[in-house]
Amino acid sequence: MAALPHHEAGAIVLEQRFGWRWAAGFAAALGGVLVLAVACAGLFVWGVGVWGTNVPYVWAFDIINYVWWIGIANAASLLAAALVLRGARWRTSINRFAEAAALFAVLCAGLFPILHLGRPWLFHWVFPYPATFEVWPQFRSPLVWDFFAILTHIVVTALFWYVGLIPDLAALRDRARTRRGQVVFGALALGWRGSARHWLNHQKAYRILAALVVPLVVFMQSTVSFEFAVTVVPDWHRARFAPYFVVSGLLSGLAMVLVVALLVRTLLGLHELVTRRHIDIIAKLLLANAVVMAWSYGFEGFVAWQAGEHAWHSALEKVTGPFAPLTWGAMLGTVGAAQALWFARVRRSAPALIAVGVLVNAGVWLDRLVIVVGGLYRDHLPSSWGTYGPTWWEAGLLAGTIGLFCALMLLFVRFVPAISMFETHAEHGGPGVRPGVRP
């Protein structure tokens, strides 16, 4: 199998016939985008009142979705970067769409900090710029840290992804039949000629970015957790939130990459490139992560038990009170579903894996809900204990961003090499280079 994969990889973009499956999927995704548009329109016309939020539950789906998406983005980036840094041989086919998934997820996440505002058109006030009213942001607020974190994340993820693409874009340029194709891909390839110097610089840049991504991801997830940890809300005020968010975020990211990998694999018939082995490794990572997650939950309970009467009561109410179904759902989704991965048969069956991946993501989303909403269930003053119920407007935001994510993913596999051609090429011993090695 020397030259075949090489052709195949390029062929995905150049020769692959995208049949009705792609069209149908894209149509469905566009439907989701439409839902997002409607949800936003209603939001702008009538205000955040269209949601079920209230006092004390001032945050709900807006922040839940944000935390969820950013977790996926972070974990996907982390995976991709780790693969690059480790130079794992089997990564090559995975990390390209892992990067893409990260980029699109962070775009989805980035919507919410703006959408959730009471006056979203003024979001730029969070950014320090010399306005005529000469007021500056409040740098002690985690929301300001978050603003910068998201910005950085978008920039770095985009660069990481794009730099990785350059050689393939060049390859596409060379294969392009129409002049338009040549010009477009050529411009995007930034004059890549595949010279040894190019390869060297490219690999340097690629690895530097990868090295940047790793700490960035930990920093990002921690920042997100600070939004809760720095408050005086009893269930939020926790130093352990940062690692907890990293772990649970990684879980959702891996699950998302797994699902995407399998879908891309079947959609594009890349059975040769995205092999069982790849899938198997991700599944095992996921499983390992789930075990850590189980430990975190246990630790939560232990700390609550230690932290005194009120904390213990509120912890008990989490698993017995009105939030119990959600709490158990979160645990079953995150920890429970992944346990199926102990069995090789499950790890080999695409439908089963997809099911697990979806369950895990749902579980992590519920986990976010239990934190964001459930965290305020037992606040300091009983007089302010309230109830919250979501509206369709909120659900629309979730469905909408999922639609947006899928749409972007589909466009990506359609128009950009979903698989790193040059690396696959190199790995499969064709003419080219091993990453970072001079030919």
């Binding site: 006092v55 505002l117 606040d379």
Partner: protein, 930 residues
């Protein structure tokens, strides 16, 4: 709008930009123009213009508010008020310190008077058979009637008024009846009859008015009498009660009063009682009798009851300081007992005063509504003139008054609204609101207060006096009618107008003695089956406030329910009947059945239900129509207050009731503290360290102390805050979603047999958690220690609310201020009206601070202690709230904060709140522990 951020909004969201432009001050400035001082309608052009008065007003600075002294009435009793008017628009009502029923404070109803005045639903035209008529046409009709009835010596003419204490109206009607001997004046009090008067007749042989002096009372026993609850006496009684409990700064109070409350329906009195007992009304009558037996006033079975023994002993010891009060709805015999007991204990003259009637009007039976109804049925009534009363709605159901109205050839209704009665009368004429009337009213102690218009009456609105005069065939202007019945020269008149009260008009206390023939009636046999109590509603009273959105959204003191009434009953009774909050039940009483949701109240008497009156109106206006159920329909003219043998059953339906507090207990947390009356050690004041540097205060640093020992949970502060700070109304649906906007709320907790009130407002924390999380610096600490909320900077992340442990922040989920139907002229021009998407909260009335500061600076002096008074502090009848400079060790607030009872709510969070609380004191009977 001239800030760049706003201009970009213009570009992107023109609609929103308009909302941002809601500039009420500009509107008002424009009004300066069209306004002669009396305040003519203001509907000005766009804010970009400014109109100059044609003529100046002597002694008045353009743009500065004016204050008028006048009176408002409740159940006919007057309360003196000072009304602030901005460019001719009444914007705020404060109590009149010179007036005995106010002494500077008011109740919630009085505060809401502003909104009633600005109510766009108020009647704007005379109507004949529902068709609007020119005012002249109405005057001609009136003159014609005057001629007709005069010809017949008044035969067939009946005048029906609500309860009134107005000397001028009484005088006019007396004249009228003098000239037309065959005419008759009937009076209908929806919350009547007051059996207290009848009780006095039984014992003393004279239907005397009874008033209490709680300041001098050391032991108070209330028999289903909510003396601290809403009503014309609330302000005075709450103040007296608090005075009898307030600790001197020196140390603990030695002779603190003790309150025993026997209640069927839980009320403020029971909530503040040192000992409380819940009994059905019938049992309370028997209880009263057993108490009287113990005190040697009645003979009979004393029974064994430790509580009764303690009470009796306590009362004996108190002697002249004792006070026994029976509820207005208890039978006259019970009142007779109470009167006799007070007399026997020597309390008459100290805690109890008997005077001649305060309310004007005929007191003989022939004046009752029943007699009128009978005459109407008999066709003896040709002309019925209804002045300021709504019998079609408030008459007891069994009278069928509404149907009878149709049988009278000529019916005329004068009222604020074209209400249920107006709809059934041939003629309706719009009545002038108290704030646009010349008039007078007696306070609960008889003191006469004058009414003067703060704004000129519009739409041909007139006062009852004017109609009465016209009926007598001698129409005159309202002012003249009041002036000519005022004893005194012009100087006295001007002084009385200025002060709002006529000096030395309080009714003298009369010496009384039980009539020799009087023997206490034996205790009534306990009524069988489910007992029913009809009670005024703490929010809409008898229904006259049904169209007032502020009051509809005012959480009821104990149930915290809004926008509804409910069948109130004890949790046990509800459980027995398999009913829960919000379940719709059918209540059958005799031949009538009523359906309504039930609400369980801890501490409610067993086997008893309370039906709040004032709801279920069908023609109240846009706010009050079709809210709740109408309990008047179940009322019987012969027994208007109590009924027995009712049947209550579940219908299986549910009705969503909106409440502002969903959790009733403190869940074992240290929130409302109670203390024994003995001396206590001051708690350690040293706050834990903070990583943030401390602020230094060169000038004043504002702070507040709330004395939970004085608070009676009357809600006056809540409404005052709403009126002062343009707090919008959100409606039932939004409250049900937990989105009420009140800056000041009163938390209510039920803790083992106790009901605790705690006013909650922004604590203005020294280390405010909200400040550090706001990304745009929209909520910041200022140089006088205030935690200020900058609406125009807020982007609405709501993070501050998340991080506020007291949850006192409110968010504009929708454009409430724009959509709540409260007219712009009702708003306080000194306070920004908040737009959609911004957070808001208590500001310590920063506009009042700013005004005081600027005044002080202009006069080159520091701000004096007590110069800044917050709206809630000013209105509080019991003086529970003290505000001032905590930087000044001698300020009232600093002195109060030095009390050992002073504590910071959730102090363990180290937020260092500037609003602190003084623990409530329980004063249990000797031998018992709190």
């Amino acid at each position: 709008m001239t800030e760049p951020d706003d201009r970009r909004i213009d570009a992107e969201f023109p609609a929103l930009a308009d909302l941002l432009r809601t500039d009420r001050r500009a509107v008002l400035k424009v009004m300066a123009a069209s306004m002669a001082l009396a305040g003519l309608p203001g509907c000005g052009p766009a804010p970009e213009t400014v109109a100059a008065r044609g003529r100046g007003v002597p002694g008045h600075t353009p743009g500065a508010p004016l204050v008028f002294a006048t009176s408002l009435t409740l159940d006919g009793y007057g309360t003196g008020v000072l009304v602030r008017s901005d460019e001719g628009h009444p914007t705020k009502i404060e109590g009149n310190p010179l007036h005995p029923a106010s002494l500077g404070a008011t109740d919630a109803f009085t505060q809401a008077g502003i909104l009633t005045f600005h109510d766009p639903d108020r009647s704007r035209a005379a109507r004949l058979d529902g068709q609007p008529q020119p005012a002249q046409r109405f005057e001609r009709a009136l003159a014609q009637v005057a001629d007709e009835v005069t010809a017949r010596g008044g035969e067939g003419l009946r005048i029906l008024t609500g309860p009134t204490s107005s000397p001028s109206l009484a005088g006019l009607l007396a004249d009228l009846l003098g000239r037309l001997p065959n005419a008759r004046w009937h009076q209908h009090a929806p919350l009547g009859p007051d059996n207290r008067r009848e009780g006095a007749r039984l014992v003393f042989g004279d239907a005397l008015e009874t008033r209490h002096d709680l300041v001098r009372a050391s032991v108070i026993v209330t028999l289903d009498a909510d003396i601290l609850g809403p009503g014309p006496h609330q302000v005075a009684y709450a103040r007296g009660f608090a005075a009898g409990r307030r600790e001197p700064e020196a140390g603990p109070k030695t002779n603190m009063n003790r309150l025993y409350a026997i209640e069927s329906t839980p009320g403020a009195t029971g909530a503040r009682a040192d000992r409380r007992l819940a009994l059905p009304p019938s049992a309370i009558a028997a209880f009263a009798h057993r108490l009287a037996v113990r005190l040697g006033v009645a003979e009979g079975e004393a029974g064994s009851d430790p509580l009764l023994d303690t009470m009796a002993a306590d009362l004996r010891v108190a002697g002249p300081g004792a006070l026994v009060v029976a509820g207005r709805h208890l039978p006259a015999e019970t009142h007779a007992l109470a009167h006799a007991v007070n007399h026997a204990l020597g309390a008459v003259g100290t805690t109890v005063h008997h005077t001649g009637p305060v309310l004007a009007g005929p007191w003989d039976e022939s004046a009752s509504l029943e007699v009128l109804a009978a005459d109407m049925a008999a066709g003896a009534v040709s002309h019925l003139v209804i002045l300021d009363s709504n019998p079609a709605y408030t008459a007891p159901g069994d009278l069928g008054f509404a149907d009878l109205l149709a049988t009278v050839p000529f019916t005329l209704h004068l009222g604020l609204w074209a209400d249920e009665t107006a709809a059934l009368c041939r003629w309706h004429a719009p009545m002038a609101h108290a704030l646009e009337s010349w008039g007078d009213a007696r306070a609960w102690d008889g003191t006469v207060g004058l009414m003067q218009p703060v704004a000129a009456p519009r739409h041909g609105r007139r006062t009852p006096q004017e109609v009465a005069a016209a009926l007598a065939g001698r129409p005159a202007a309202a002012r003249e009618l009041v002036r000519e019945r005022f004893q005194g020269d012009d100087a006295a008149w001007r002084q009385a107008l200025h002060d709002g009260v006529v000096p030395d008009t309080a009714l003298p206390s009369r010496a009384v003695a039980p009539a020799p023939g009087w023997r206490p009636a034996p205790p009534p046999a306990g009524a069988g089956g489910l007992e029913v109590v009809f009670a005024p509603d703490p929010s809409v009273w008898d229904g006259c406030f049904a169209n007032n959105a502020w009051l509809q959204e005012l959480p009821k003191p104990l149930s915290k329910m809004v926008w509804d009434n409910a069948i109130l009953l004890a949790p046990a009774t509800a459980a027995a009947l398999d009913l829960e909050n919000g379940a719709v039940a059918a209540l059958t009483l005799g031949s009538r059945t009523l359906r309504g949701p039930v609400w369980t109240l801890p501490g409610h008497a067993a086997d008893t239900v309370t039906l709040p009156l004032g709801y279920g109106r069908w023609s109240a206006g846009r706010v009050g129509t079709a809210v709740g159920f109408d309990a008047y329909r179940l009322r019987r003219a012969d027994a208007p207050w109590l009924a027995a043998g009712a049947e209550l059953r579940a219908t299986g339906e549910r009705h969503a009731l909106a409440t502002t507090q969903r959790h009733a207990t403190m869940a074992g947390r240290d929130i409302v503290r109670t203390a024994p009356p003995v001396p206590r050690e001051p708690p350690a004041q040293e706050p834990p360290p903070s990583i943030y540097p401390d602020y230094a205060y060169a000038g004043p640093a504002w702070g507040m102390a709330v004395d939970l020992n004085a608070c009676v949970g009357c809600n006056a502060c809540v409404t005052a805050c709403q009126a002062e700070n343009n707090v919008p109304v959100v409606g039932r649906a939004e409250v049900a979603r937990g989105r009420e906007m009140h800056w000041l709320r009163i938390d209510r907790y039920f803790e083992d047999q106790q009901t605790l009130f705690q006013p909650m407002l922004c604590m203005h924390c020294e280390k405010a958690p909200c400040e550090v999380v706001c990304p745009v610096n929209a909520t910041v600490h200022d140089a006088e220690g205030l935690n200020v909320m900058v609406y125009n900077r807020c982007v609405g992340t709501r993070y501050c609310s998340n991080n506020c442990p007291y949850k006192v922040r409110r968010f504009n989920w929708f454009d409430y201020a724009q959509d709540d139907g409260v007219p712009a002229e009702a708003a306080n021009p000194e306070v920004t009206v908040r737009v959609r998407g911004v957070m808001e909260k208590c500001t310590y009335c920063i506009q009042r601070i700013a005004t005081a500061r600027i005044r002080a600076k202009l006069e080159n002096r520091p701000i004096a202690d007590g110069e800044v008074v917050t709206a809630c502090q000013q209105v509080c009848p019991s003086g529970a709230i003290v505000f001032g400079d905590v930087n000044d060790p001698d300020s009232a607030v600093s002195r109060r904060k030095r009390s050992p009872r002073n504590y910071a709510l959730l102090g363990e969070l180290n937020t260092r709140p500037r609003t602190t609380y003084l623990a409530r004191i329980d004063n249990p009977p000797a031998g018992e522990e709190a």
